[in-house]
Symmetry: C2
Subunit: 137 residues, 2 copies
């Protein structure tokens, strides 16, 4: 049985399995702050198992990632993959096409802060191919 609680090594419970429609590999999403019209901010924690990543997507109101554990990948369309390590943040402007996930040999955990959600939260695009995922140099 999967232990889905937080423990001394993690901050949050793992949450729900991320939907296969928008993720490649296994990832877990724990909702922390739901949508509302006071804060206009949606926050969740995502744990990516090694090799897992989400599909290409955009955020109409932008998103800020806060890396909290492991080693991850972040890529904007047309640019090289960037490595993300514990303590790194990434500010993703509205409409920038991108994806994020774990590196091949390490799990990766980030807090995702969706900003200006009155403009929308996410628009999903195509999956990240193995060729794209393996392009890190």
């Amino acid at each position: 049985m999967m232990d889905n609680s937080a423990n001394q090594y993690t901050i949050f419970a793992k949450g729900e399995k991320a939907p296969a429609d928008y993720f490649t590999g296994t990832a877990w999403i724990k909702s922390l702050v739901p949508a509302d019209d006071i804060f206009n901010t949606v926050i969740g924690n995502v744990v990516f198992e090694p090799g897992a990543r989400n599909h290409w997507h955009t955020h109409p109101g932008g998103q800020i990632l806060i890396a909290t554990d492991g080693t991850g990948y972040y890529q904007e369309k047309g640019k090289p993959i960037q490595l993300l390590r514990k303590g790194d943040t990434v500010s993703i402007p509205p409409a920038v096409i991108h994806w994020h996930g774990a590196s091949p040999d390490s799990a990766f955990t980030h807090i995702a802060v969706n900003t200006n959600t009155q403009k929308g939260i996410v628009e999903w695009l195509q999956s990240v191919t193995d060729e794209e995922y393996n392009s890190y140099q």
Copy 2:
């Protein structure tokens, strides 16, 4: 010499000492995301040493706290002190008078997400007295 770097136990470097004008006791602030007019979101990490707390204050655009380590206190004016533990979040609506900090016997770390910063970030009020701080039941 104070070691101010992140290590295997912490996510962020401790940052700068919090200003005595707005804090009682010793706390450390690491800026993670500065103010801008794209994300309208300012994020920082705060480490409170045991007994440390900030002054009463409000956020014109609201704030969300994400507790990541230790045991802390949160209080809204006219209400009892609430205990905060690793993994807890608190959504503080605009204009609500409140303070936060460590409990007396444990350090406390939280990420502070200031939302809707186009409306303002923070307005500081009076300090939290020892009587107020010691009112936790």
